[in-house]
Amino acid sequence: MSALISTRTALALLVLGLLATFPLWGSAYFVGRVFSPALFFGIAALSLVLLAGYGGMVSLAQMTIFGLAGYGYGVLTVTHGQPWWVGILGGLAAATLAAFLFGLVAVRTQGIYFLMITLALGMVVYALANQNRSVFGGHTGILGIRAPELGGHLLTERALFYEVCLVTAVLSYLGVRYLLRTPFGLALQAVRDNPRRLAALGYHVALHRLAAFTLAGFLAAVGGLLGVWYNGAISPTAIDVTRLINVLVIAVIGGLASVEGAFLGALAFILVTNFASSFTERFNTVIGLTFLAIVLFSPEGLSGLAARPVEVLRRWRGRRWRASDTLDVRQAVGRQDE
């Protein structure tokens, strides 16, 4: 057992070492155009994995929150000429506050209704950003957004930006992994499995959901800041319905209940979009087919595919609770007529 853990630790360190030195041996294109965006989109997908895979809340508003952090940074630094650190704090605060407010509306609903409400909220913000000129800059959005400078280097210099993304992504990854083992994270997983039961143990389920939604919003906002530095501009296109759904596609491709999967999914998504678009104009079809193949053949996503042998074992062990889940449904239906 301990040998297994140390193998895993060794493997993790190896991967981390390769990633950290990537700008030294990787091509400029892969460092700048593939891995960097994969890392910050991965953070956005991670916020969705936390909500959907571990909290049972499939939110379509994560990219809206991601975008609002960018708008916050842009409005403060460009429109109001504030220094970058004000932009960072303001962008994070605005997006997290938006997540809290979205949460207030959404957390009392479940399943498809939760999905629809978060989609509606995302569309409201999109329409607002598209039509409001005074703050959001209307259809054009906000241009000329400059990333912070670090010791005379602009943070968007290729290798530096990559390393900043990597550090942020690793911290987010470790943070979420840690969170899932805390009382808060355990209760969140219990919310996913059975909210009613959790209430019967003394937990305030709606409050718990709201806290998780706000926290995931903060995570998406962190990704959003990196995103807006990368693009140097933000416009309503960044938060349109396609983007909102893309992050769900990323999370599902990676594995909805997998913390690593968020980044794997983002990498796969960016590779497919970049390469398919150089072969064919119909790269959306390619993404659609990839998505379909993954949902059909590996419902636990790429991370499930990578861990196939482990997965088979787990599935065999998990068969029992799946059977009892079906029973629960029957029982719940049966309970109605008592």
Partner: protein
């Protein structure tokens, strides 16, 4: 109708007191005008045929459902409108007809959550250590309900009987003053029933227990009072012996209904 007053109840006050509690689902009157009182430490079973309203009554007491009318008092406090999580924190714990555990969490995590639920810092962001009071208590509970060897197993991978044991452990984590057990013996093998009866008889005698049960063997060994429900109403109350001999009850169970 047989009525037996718990004479000590007047002196100490009731642990649980229901006055004229009703619950309707549209046109269906699932529970009608039920009044019930339990003295502290009393052990009582609610029995009755399917559809008698036992589980609905249970859900009303636990707070999963609000009564359409009537009041519920717990040690004198009106709890009629309290949400379920507040009732647990006051000391009302329950189990369900089908064991409800968190299948993708381990036995220990299930119990730990249950312990944490009734204590402060439920939303703590500090990772628990094995030496934490709550973790120690969770392990004790696992031992108490006979799952000491299975603490790292996923709850969803446990056999049905073990899930019942786990659920009981989760209910006991609240150190409840009132324990509500919804058909605790359902689906258990004779051996497991024996284990369950032993577990229940071994609980703190000060703990008030109200249970719904079809299985008379287990129920009548554990309780001293029985309430019989039929079509949403209480039709008889008494000791197990009195109930076994009651004519109305026999009619209900052996059939004079025209279905």
């Amino acid at each position: 109708m047989v009525t037996v007053q718990a004479t000590t109840a007047q002196a100490i006050g009731h642990a649980l007191e229901l006055q004229g509690v009703s619950r309707r689902f549209g046109g269906l009157r699932a529970v009608q005008d039920v009044s019930l009182s339990l003295a502290p430490g009393e052990r009582r079973a609610i029995i009755g045929p399917n559809g008698a309203g036992k589980t609905t009554l249970f859900n009303v007491i636990a707070g999963d459902l609000r009564p359409t009318s009537g009041t519920i008092r717990f040690y004198g406090d009106d709890i009629t409108h309290l949400p379920p999580h507040d009732r647990v924190r006051r000391g009302i714990a329950r189990t369900y007809q089908t064991p409800l555990v968190f299948p993708r969490l381990s036995v220990l995590d299930n119990l730990y959550l249950a312990v944490r639920g009734v204590r402060p810092r439920r939303m703590s962001l500090r990772r628990p250590r094995a030496s934490d009071a709550e973790m120690v208590r969770a392990r004790q509970l696992a031992e108490q309900v006979g799952l000491g060897d299975a603490i790292h197993a996923l709850a969803g991978a446990l056999a049905h009987g073990q899930q019942r044991q786990l659920e009981l452990g989760m209910a006991l984590a609240a150190d409840p003053k009132l324990l509500l057990l919804d058909e605790p013996a359902a689906g258990l093998s004779p051996g497991e029933r024996e284990l369950l009866a032993g577990l229940l008889l071994g609980l703190d005698p000060g703990m008030t227990i109200l249970l719904v049960e079809h299985d008379m063997d287990v129920a009548f060994r554990v309780v001293r009072q029985v309430t019989v429900m039929h079509e949403g109403r209480v039709i008889a109350e008494g000791t197990p012996e009195e109930i076994s001999a009651d004519e109305v009850v026999q009619q209900v169970y052996l059939g004079s209904r025209h279905d």
